[in-house]
Amino acid sequence: MTQVMKGVRILEVAQFTFVPAAGAILADWGADVIKIEHPVRGDAQRGFVNLGGMKLDPARNPLMEHPNRGKRSVGIDISTPLGCELLHEIARTADVFLTNYLPAQRQKLRCDLEHIRAANPRIIYARGSALGDKGPEREIGGFDGTAFWSRGAIGFCMSPPELPGPLTQGIPAFGDSIGGMSIAGGIAAALFHRQRTGEALELDVSLLSTAWWAAGTSLDYTMESGSMIRNRMPVSGASAGNPFSGNYRTSDGGTINLCMLTPGPYIRDTFQHLGIPQAADDPRFCEARSLMSHADAASELIARVFATKPFDYWRQHLRTLKGQWAPVQSLSDLATDEQALANDMLVEVEAVDGGRPVKLVRGPVQFNHEPVRTTRAPQASEHTETFLMELGLEWERIETLKAAGAIA
């Protein structure tokens, strides 16, 4: 893919997924991302033994690969004076400083805005946080499960009120991955602004602001009307008022989603596909207004028809349907979805053991129809010496730093 970020260096002092994912997107786009890790502990994410209750293979760990592919890892203990000095030296060569350290830690570690800008006045300073860099709770950390899903009301919206409580996030790093893309977009805009005006900006994205944006239409509606839109319990049948919009169960327990929000133009074609062409001539269903006012009767009829044939039948048969619809896919279905693969959504990187390649998901943006080429996530501190030599350090100084415990 066109390396739109070629020549841009991102200095990342961050852990977990949300903020590193921004670095990963920028690396997909061609940036030189230098990930600073603690020489002994590494990114805290390396310690994850479980993902969504499943065991993780540390050599093929999606929690490391997803947010860190394409980067170089340099092990520096930035809490040591020599390590801190080295960080500032690297900052002088970087375009963007990317961090999710909390305000007090940034200050203590001298990687706050003032110190990084003192090293490089032209550097863009990008912060990711749980709750935002202003206000009484700016010092509070968090994960997407807290700031995005729980506090950010996503869990509330997703969970039908009939359930005994809200659903949990269900997708590890769900809010992180959305939020990371937002940071990457903000950085791209800040680089553009710097190019045009010479001004280097600070930018903030929080997991809370990510939830506000992701739930934006619902939240706008609530602020306007005082009412709240929430998920309903699953049924085989239409959403209120439109029989061509809803989930319908197939004979083998699969689900087909219809989403013809403007049903009028699709009435005859839809009933034909469902094998009940005569319904299109029924005065209750023959045009949009009457169809919508007889939504319950139409929904019942359609639910009965879907229940007569299996998922795979409908999946094939509805391919020529003019209106909007989708098979409700599982993750395994999605991983082999030919349309996704035709759009290069899957990226393969070499495995650390030289074994079968690791399959990864690419970022959502594609340039010029070209697939992403990237490399696996680095091992902790993998590039310390090679990067420092590239930076111009003599081996003697590298040995001194090593002896002092400042680098891996």
Partner: protein
Amino acid sequence: MKAGTRLKSIVCDTEVMVIRGADVVVECGGAPMAEARPAARAAINPGFAQGTLIGKRYVDAAGTIELLCVKPGQGSLAIGGVALQVKDAKPLPASD
């Protein structure tokens, strides 16, 4: 053996860069590594066939040697028949 030197396995694809050196002979797959790979591969000793992982650092117990694997292979690294250990990050256990 100077820092920065690259050593190649004569039994597999493994290649390492010397990060911290000492005057010792490093073996891979049971055979001494060399700066140039011979035309024909030697046989791997099954006792030293646990494999190497790219990007990992390998150290001896005394901490006098540190090698960075730059190409993985089937052999495993040793000095004088004593297997080298992976110098791994030691994060706190966590779960998502």
